[in-house]
Symmetry: C2
Subunit: 377 residues, 2 copies
């Protein structure tokens, strides 16, 4: 029997020690929004960190007292009796640095200028995020995570934990992810970024002072993103060639249902998401490549990892295909690491990692049951 974690409260952690980014930029001070669910045990060994993907945030599960319809983005996975069981684990969700959900990001006020950071916010990497997350763990007194879990860009963070802090994570759950983006992945990101960068209302990233928002660019970026999140088959099943108004209108208004869906998703996203954060997130995706400085040798990159891994992919995910997960698995096996791999049959493309799929849920539940047995041993 599973239920919701119920009412949750977001918290804010402040960090006054400067953080040096991979780029060399330094942020003197920053804040991270986070939420926790469940109870940290006496020896602080039952903590799970959830790393979010492109448009995610700290609100992973439950709802707010004053906004009960605002349910966490992974509420089907995290809660009492759910695979990431809050009766067993102390679960942390955070909004990454550079985000637009309360953590310090481009839309935050830079104390040095009294204006939003905008274009002056440093380009961030997965490595930088993980360093910031490690400091949050320090504040919470968590020396070592029972597990770090993430899908897509979140999976990259989970992997990076194993590489950068091998003694601080027992298990990595890397879902629907890849050891680096392909040229095609980067190409999609570049089109999305170009849509934002060339929007006249972007103003080089400093649109806040102009009282405008590059809505057009952000909307296009999100529309394009959605195509890559869904499988060709899922789109065909869900929308096919169904017309919005039952007949052809021979105009540039919405003609097919798929257009209606995409434009709705684009409009919804552009109304709340920060354009600079979107740019940062896609850049972090592009840059992640632990093998870059090792002649592209992923085996060498994963030599540093000590964690046990669960790698999960989805058959119709063409953004991060199963073949990309195989690369991770092979590199881990090469290093004789303990790795489980599940290739889940799902119609939902990359979005599958957020979906309620029985096989996927069972894989996660079983793996995390074993993690808990280790913690309890």
């Amino acid at each position: 029997m599973s239920s919701s974690v119920g009412i949750v409260t977001a918290q804010r952690a402040t960090f006054d020690t400067p953080l040096t980014f991979k780029s060399g930029a330094v942020l003197p001070r920053y804040e991270l929004m986070y939420e926790t669910y469940g109870t940290l045990n006496a020896d602080k060994s039952n903590a799970i960190l959830i790393c979010h993907a492109l448009s995610g945030h700290h609100h992973v599960a439950g709802y707010y007292a004053d906004d009960t319809k605002n349910i966490g983005w992974w509420d089907n996975m995290v809660g009492p009796g759910k695979p990431i069981d809050t009766l067993k684990f102390f679960v942390i969700g955070l909004n990454n640095l550079g985000g637009c959900h309360g953590s310090t990001g481009p839309s935050s006020i830079d104390p040095a200028t009294g204006k939003p950071y905008g274009s002056s916010f440093p380009v961030i990497t997965v490595e930088d995020w993980v360093n910031a997350q490690a400091r949050l763990a320090d504040q919470l007194g968590i020396q070592r995570f029972a597990a770090i879990v993430g899908g897509s860009l979140g999976g990259m963070q989970a992997m990076q934990w194993a590489l950068a802090y091998p003694d601080r994570v027992a298990h990595v759950l890397a879902i629907a992810t890849a050891p680096h983006l392909t040229a095609q992945n980067i190409a999609f990101n570049d089109v999305a970024r170009s849509a934002i960068l060339t929007d006249p209302e972007f103003h080089g990233g400093d649109f806040y002072q102009h009282g405008v928002v590059p809505t057009r660019g952000l909307r296009l970026a999100r529309m394009l993103g959605h195509i890559t999140y869904l499988s060709d088959d899922a789109m065909a099943d869900k929308f096919g060639r169904e017309l919005r108004h039952g007949k052809l209108n021979f105009s540039y208004d919405i003609e097919f249902q798929i257009e209606s869906y995409l434009r709705y998703q684009g409009d919804k996203f552009a109304a709340y998401f920060d354009a600079n954060t979107y740019l940062l997130m896609t850049k972090a995706l592009d840059y992640f490549d632990p093998a870059r400085e090792l002649d592209g040798d992923l085996n060498r990159a994963f030599a540093a990892a000590k964690a046990k891994f669960l790698v999960v992919s989805f058959t119709t995910d063409w953004r991060f295909s199963p073949a990309r997960s195989h690369e991770i698995v092979h590199a881990l096996l090469h290093n004789r690491r303990d790795v489980s791999y599940a290739e889940v049959t799902s119609d939902h493309g990359h979005d599958s990692f957020l979906m309620e799929d029985a096989q996927y849920i069972a894989v996660m539940r079983n793996y995390l049951n074993n993690v808990f047995e280790e913690v309890s041993a």
Copy 2:
């Protein structure tokens, strides 16, 4: 031994009989730019029509006396001794109605107003194009084509010829095409169109009067298009994760070579192509669906066809995958039509249909040799 058709001259055909579009709109008068190569035989039985794809035009082969570097877009396929052999066939290339290479289109002056048609140019369909092409054939005295050939959107026109004018085409060569777009195909088109439609310099399609061009939107549309023309593998082989400047720059300038390529392609295209034509072409793609009014039954749609078919697909074409060609082949076989099918192993994705691939060239050559034997019999 094969060579170029050499110096060619574009011609202009004028049509003073009003053309009624599928939408119900009427164009009172229009012009079509075309080129011909080779010689029409005495009984006018050796004519081949080349239908162009999204950004194509009438300049299929050869070059111009005053612009010798401007070589036709299918010069590797059309010429003396080439698969579409101009020593044997009389070959016609035209710029479709609505185009931006000399045929009447949105950027042409509407005689009724003295201004460019712009937003008043009718939304056009593959059926409309084929009707306009049939009138061009009438003017040239060609009752029946030996073959009609097209790739991608051009393949849709070639198929439509067999359905609308079954007695006027002996052979259809439908290459890298589909019986209709999928939801995913439409989705990509919709993002491309949205980029143009929301460009502040589009001015609802009447940007000509404002002395501006929606370059930003057109550039994004083309960048996105290019991703879908290439295969994931081809992009990986050609660009991989290679950096433009050898090291990461942590900025939104070009970082990876793939970004450089895409932006270059986008800029080049936006400098010459008409935004309204781009919109029309993508709409024609979306709308083509000969089975729409037959409960989606492609078998019934192809019952009208009398032509013999060559259907060609390419293994890495994910925009119009081999599975889409199979649908065409199955519908033809269901109707006991004469159909040859070739699935060419190629790394170049959808773009393969424009490439010099030995297997592809051989298939085309052999098929057209047989067509010529029929013509000569």
